[in-house]
């Protein structure tokens, strides 16, 4: 654990709306090595974005609130830092990319100005120096520097996402939080953006947390994967572990709902039911209402994560040996 770059322990985030409290994140723990990429995978509303925003402490503060846990970036706990100190960290050491490029940029400011703003916040550059640096960034993300003075509405969706990336990586952050960066883009642009992110990461050695619900994208870019469900990490391990040997029923359900090339089953098998109501989460394992293998034990108490193999944990009592890979294949072929 020597060069652990970021470690999150028992992170808890709640949103209050009226009298009801929404428990978005319920005790998430994971760690990230420098230069490594972690994927947070799960259905929408599982709390992935809340985790990222909690790390950066930019939760919209009237409803959202961090109520527990520790977030250590290179040993310093971000949750205890004052707002002034966080201002230094945001953009400098942690940066974020958002999902919908169409609304992620301020429509009334030129693209260049928005990049320069980030640059001049963290290093005292004159406007000219910052402008030059911003133009370099634009070139790197494949946008001709001369478009520095244009407004966001003059760019396509893909181009705008490139600007967002340029803005995020302008100050050469150590950690990049990418919140479903390619969901709003069509496939061809998606590939270009992913390659761009990968090349820039390798160039600057930036570690990244990628939030996505698209397993294809995860497979292509990430080192380790965390399956998030109802604010908890159900399964966590290297890409090889999770893709090859998914042991949590929810992970298996996710893989089953993917159309696979080789089997000719005509219907996809969706996971029955819907996400639990975050205001009153079921006791025990939150997935038990939808889990085909739920038993009585699953319904009570706290489900501790089980170490299935080194570096691969799974939060399920029945995660043990008996459900081997063949079984998952059988479910896969649809005999059950």
């Amino acid at each position: 654990m020597d060069n652990t770059f970021l470690s999150v322990k028992d992170l808890e985030v709640i949103y209050t709306s009226g009298k009801k409290i929404v428990r978005a994140v319920n005790g998430v723990s994971f760690s990230l090595q420098r230069g490594e990429t972690l994927a947070l995978v799960g259905e929408t509303g599982a709390g992935k974005t809340s985790i990222a925003k909690a790390i950066m402490r930019i939760l919209p503060n009237p409803p959202g609130k961090i109520v527990g846990g520790v977030v250590e970036l290179e040993g310093e706990n971000l949750l205890e830092k004052s707002e002034a100190e966080m201002l230094e960290i945001r953009g400098e050491r942690i940066a974020m990319i958002f999902q919908d490029p169409m609304t992620a940029l301020n429509p009334l400011m030129t693209v260049g100005d928005q990049i320069v703003e980030g640059l001049r916040l963290h290093n005292d550059l004159t406007f000219a120096e910052a402008k030059k640096r911003a133009e370099e960034m634009l070139e790197q993300v494949g946008i001709p520097a001369v478009r520095f003075v244009e407004y966001p509405f003059e760019f396509s969706g893909g181009m705008r996402q490139r600007v967002v990336i340029a803005m995020a990586l302008a100050c050469n952050p150590d950690l990049l939080l990418a919140d479903e960066p390619t969901t709003a883009l069509d496939v061809t642009i998606q590939a270009q953006v992913l390659n761009l992110i990968k090349s820039l990461r390798q160039k600057y050695g930036t570690s990244m947390i990628l939030i996505s619900h698209d397993l294809g994208v995860v497979a292509q870019t990430c080192d380790s994967v965390a399956i998030v469900y109802a604010g908890q990490i159900m399964e966590y391990g290297t890409k090889r572990h999770v893709f090859k040997n998914p042991c949590h029923p929810y992970t298996r359900g996710l893989f089953n709902s993917l159309p696979s090339m080789n089997s000719d089953s005509d219907r996809l098998k969706p996971i029955e039911g819907t996400l639990p109501d975050p205001t009153n989460l079921p006791d025990g394992c939150p997935f038990h209402p939808r889990c085909p293998r739920a038993t009585q034990e699953c319904k009570i108490g706290v489900i501790e994560p089980v170490k299935v193999e080194p570096g691969h944990i799974c939060r399920c009592i029945h995660a043990g040996a008996e459900k081997s890979v063949e079984d998952s294949k059988r479910i896969h072929s649809g005999e059950v």
């Binding site: 945001r90 958002f98 301020n106 980030g118 407004y151 509405f153």
Partner: protein, 317 residues
């Protein structure tokens, strides 16, 4: 930008012509005649008929319409007011500064306090500040302005004796009228600003700005306000016509001889030249304000400005 202004000025001329026609027709078909209004109840019917003849009110509709258009739009002679006995433009010019002073300063107050209250409420969304300001705004929208005016007069001029009850003179005469004229507008502006700020508050680019490590105050000033204030500019126009409508009442209560009271007495006295001229004045004045507001909108919103500059830039490249 130039041809946009040209197009609007052309529209302005058409609007003025149309307004003149509408007003003339409405007045022509309004019952009652100017002579009876001028000579009063004790004049005999014969004398009234003679006066109507002298004023040319009995001439056929088209002849009068032709005369009116010829005088107004060719000789720019608004004619002489029958009641006031002097050229209408002279009376209007004398009264114009007062109505404009009250109108524009009320608009400035509207904008300034409206935005201030709106921003204060918007940025403290759903906290007590928000509800309190909105409650105050609600109160001032609900009260009829002449009721508020009378209450203020009782309070400030009778009880406290700080301000003169009515009339014109030094600046102190204009304090209460301006406040009364702007109260309704402030409330409306505050509500609109608040809701538009709450809307922008939820936009993604605000979170982006924060993720760059930008201070909250700068986020509000540089990112939130410009976007929130865009829709507010258009409401300035409607705010203005609300003030102009209210001017007649405010001027009556504070007996300030403005264009509002002039129009009211002209309508009662069937003083056709005066009514036509003051209505045209209001129409042109409102259109100009609308044009200025649209230009401000175009100037501030890059999307529209770019359309014109791109045309220019395309030529350059």
């Amino acid at each position: 930008m130039a041809e946009y202004i040209l197009k609007r000025c052309l529209a302005l001329i058409i609007i003025v012509f149309a307004t003149a026609f509408i007003i003339f027709t409405i007045l022509y078909f309004t019952p009652g005649d100017p002579a009876r209004a001028l000579l009063g109840a004790s004049a005999s019917d014969a004398e009234v008929a003679a006066m109507n003849e002298a004023l040319g009110v009995n001439r056929p509709y088209l002849v009068q319409l032709g005369d009116f258009f010829y005088d107004t739009f060719i000789r720019f002679d608004f004619g002489e007011s029958w009641v006031y006995g002097r050229p209408v433009y002279e009376e209007l010019a004398a009264r114009l500064p007062r109505t404009v002073l009250i109108g524009l300063s009320a608009m400035v107050l509207n904008l300034f306090f409206g935005l201030l209250l709106g921003i204060f409420a918007g940025t403290h969304g759903s906290k007590w500040q928000d509800s309190l300001t909105m409650a105050i705004a609600m109160v001032f929208i609900s009260c009829p302005d002449f009721w508020v005016a009378l209450m203020m007069i009782v309070l400030f001029s009778l009880k406290l004796g700080w301000l003169p009850p009515y009339g014109i003179g030094g600046p102190e005469y204009y304090i209460m009228p301006i406040i009364c004229a702007s109260l309704g507008g402030i409330a409306v502006n505050a509500r609109q600003t608040r809701s538009s700020i709450l809307e922008v508050y939820r936009e993604d680019y605000i979170t982006t700005a924060r993720s760059k490590g930008q201070r909250e105050s700068v986020v509000v000033r540089r990112h939130m306000l410009p976007n929130a204030l865009m829709p507010i500019i258009t409401t300035i126009g409607t705010g203005f016509s609300r003030i102009v409508a209210g001017s007649a009442v405010i001027e009556t209560v504070f007996s300030i001889p403005g264009v509002g009271t002039y129009m009211l007495s002209a309508i009662n006295g069937r003083d056709y030249p005066a009514v036509r001229a003051s209505v045209l004045f209001f129409a042109v004045f409102t259109c100009i304000v609308m044009l200025v507001v649209d230009l401000m909108y175009a100037f501030v919103d890059p999307r529209i400005k770019a359309q014109y500059s791109r045309v220019r830039r395309a030529k350059v490249q």
